[in-house]
Symmetry: C2
Subunit: 351 residues, 2 copies
């Protein structure tokens, strides 16, 4: 039973002659066991006697063997990769989430495969196809435009984790950040500072987040007994330029306001520029609060007050949930609550 010392040596010599990468078979030879055994040790699939395990581990180390995920995928039906549908790989917001996913998946031996949906349902569907054809083991969808039904259908084939909605289905797990509460927090912060005329720059109307933040704004107003004035609400589409335009519009229609809450930091940033252009000072003349807490928002002039959204953490949590799904367990993750980061773009209204 115990391998003769010469056998491994011989095998090893022949192994190093071979061109190309080390294969599992070479390891088996070197360790004097069958390929099946090596495979089992690699996968922890069965109990193996200590000696053989030792021999195999040695051989693996000695030869520098790295299993070929491609072959693993073909044979075992898994690829140790998880697809990630993001909307734009270069998004200032989702970037952190992607990093979180990467950081969580990596130690588990999984690789993320990022594809971009460009905020388009058809493109997203194509993304799913691409991921499926690459035989990813699971799919993480960061928000997006896919219908709930489409997502559920997808979850019938392989595990799915989705952020930005609340969905329940077999093989499907969703992570939802409380945008209503976030919007409420931002608005209440301004109210507590004495502001009563608070303009709201809305986000994409067909974006659930955006609508939730809007609801939070109304909620806080109501709670404070302040009336909701539609004239103070101006549409935007989540980009800087719409913040800029919104300020122009507010000023042109001669609205009276002492603060602005923008549905995301990018628009808040645009709004700050719009005010700067009109020689209105932030926060002396107008207070501004954003939403997201992008890495850059700490460095606007002045640094922006905003609602922190834990993008990196959400990425990690989504990936952790996927890992659990993949392991056949039920995910149990808690999404952090929104919190307000008061910096210098907002201040108490001077009566």
């Amino acid at each position: 039973m115990k391998p003769t010392p010469s056998k491994p040596r011989a095998a090893r010599a022949s192994a190093s002659h071979a061109s190309g990468p080390i294969t599992l078979e070479m390891v088996a030879q070197a360790a004097g066991v069958s390929p099946s055994t090596v495979s089992r040790i690699l996968n922890g699939t069965a109990v193996v006697s200590g000696l053989k395990k030792q021999a195999v581990d040695d051989a693996i180390a000695r030869l520098g063997f790295v299993p070929n995920p491609i072959a693993r995928g073909l044979a075992g039906g898994r690829t140790l990769s998880v697809g990630v549908v993001t909307q734009a790989i270069d998004s200032p917001f989702y970037g952190a989430a992607l990093r979180g996913i990467e950081d969580e998946l990596d130690p588990a031996g999984y690789s993320p495969l990022f594809v971009s949906g460009h905020w388009n349902a058809a493109t997203e569907a194509r993304c799913i196809d691409v991921l499926r054809s690459r035989r990813v083991d699971g799919i993480i969808v960061l928000t997006g435009r896919l219908t709930d039904a489409a997502l559920k259908a997808c979850a019938k084939q392989l595990p799915v984790v989705v952020t930005g909605r609340q969905l329940k289905a077999a093989g499907l797990f969703s992570l939802h950040f409380d945008n209503v509460e976030g919007g409420r927090l931002a608005t209440r912060h301004l109210i507590e500072m004495g502001h009563q005329r608070i303009a709201f720059i809305a986000g994409d109307a067909d974006h659930p987040d955006a609508n939730d933040r809007h609801r939070g704004y109304r909620l806080a107003l109501e709670e404070a007994g302040l009336s909701y004035d539609p004239a103070l609400v101006v549409p935007g589409e989540y980009h800087e330029v719409s913040g800029l335009l919104a300020v122009d519009r507010l000023l042109e229609t001669r609205q009276r306001f002492t603060a602005i809450f923008a549905a995301n930091d990018q628009m808040a940033c645009g709004a700050m520029l719009g005010l700067h252009r009109r020689s209105l000072r932030v926060p002396e003349d107008v207070s501004v609060v954003g939403f997201d807490d992008l890495p850059t928002s700490m460095y606007t002039s002045p640094p922006m007050s905003t609602v922190h959204q834990p993008a990196y953490e959400m990425g990690r949590l989504a990936a952790a949930a996927m890992l659990r799904l993949l392991a056949g367990k039920t995910p149990d993750v808690d999404v952090p609550a929104p919190r307000l980061i008061a910096r210098e773009s907002s201040r108490r209204l001077r009566g």
Copy 2:
């Protein structure tokens, strides 16, 4: 020779009974040809008679067959994927490059596989291993810390495209952006506006880009007959905070200066905040010029003057070069020259 009409039908029926995805074999059956033939048609590997091609194309369309890249990779030795070593998936600068790579690769049927090196040579080396184990067909390296030798060694195994250096080797193509010229442009712009005391916030010293930009700064000074004053040069490390600190330091050491050139936009942004903090106005009191032209730099208050670096374009070009390498051709791409984008953070010195 011509397939009996009943055969495809029968095969088709059996095909739809099968569970799971359609395989090449099912297509072959449905079309009444051998798997080899289907494979050849798929790959354009050999000339095939019109009729059979027709039958196969029909079968593919009818069954909705999508070849399995995993199996293709195992059998054919290619995966139609290209590895991309980036430094941080969430980098504000590289994000655009990643999108460019994605956009260029997609129509060609290739998928990018992104991994992050975190500005660490050891991590980058591990990235390369991961990519190799996933059998990518080629690797694109966006700058990074790997030695030229390591890159060349890698290129012996599979095609490599690298940005941010000038390297020549078989199977290796490099794309180099002229950072010296960029630095020169930025500085000259300030000089032309009448500035003579121009501070420079340097980037990471072990970053070739950063040193090149520094050289450009000196060059422009020399050309204008202005002396290079080391007291005006303060170190940074490419993040916002170092721009902020740099301004503090400049002010504390009581340097006289009317303009700042920062080696990247992030530091320029930090510098703008630093000046704001000290109640120095940009550009009335101090002009600021950055480098990179990040998407957000257009929306700082005031909008930042900077040197445009075509990150998206570089991504596309790198991917295009890879595609040519993969096709056995020699890449021929022209990197756009740097150009100055004069916005509002710089202005003529009032004499």
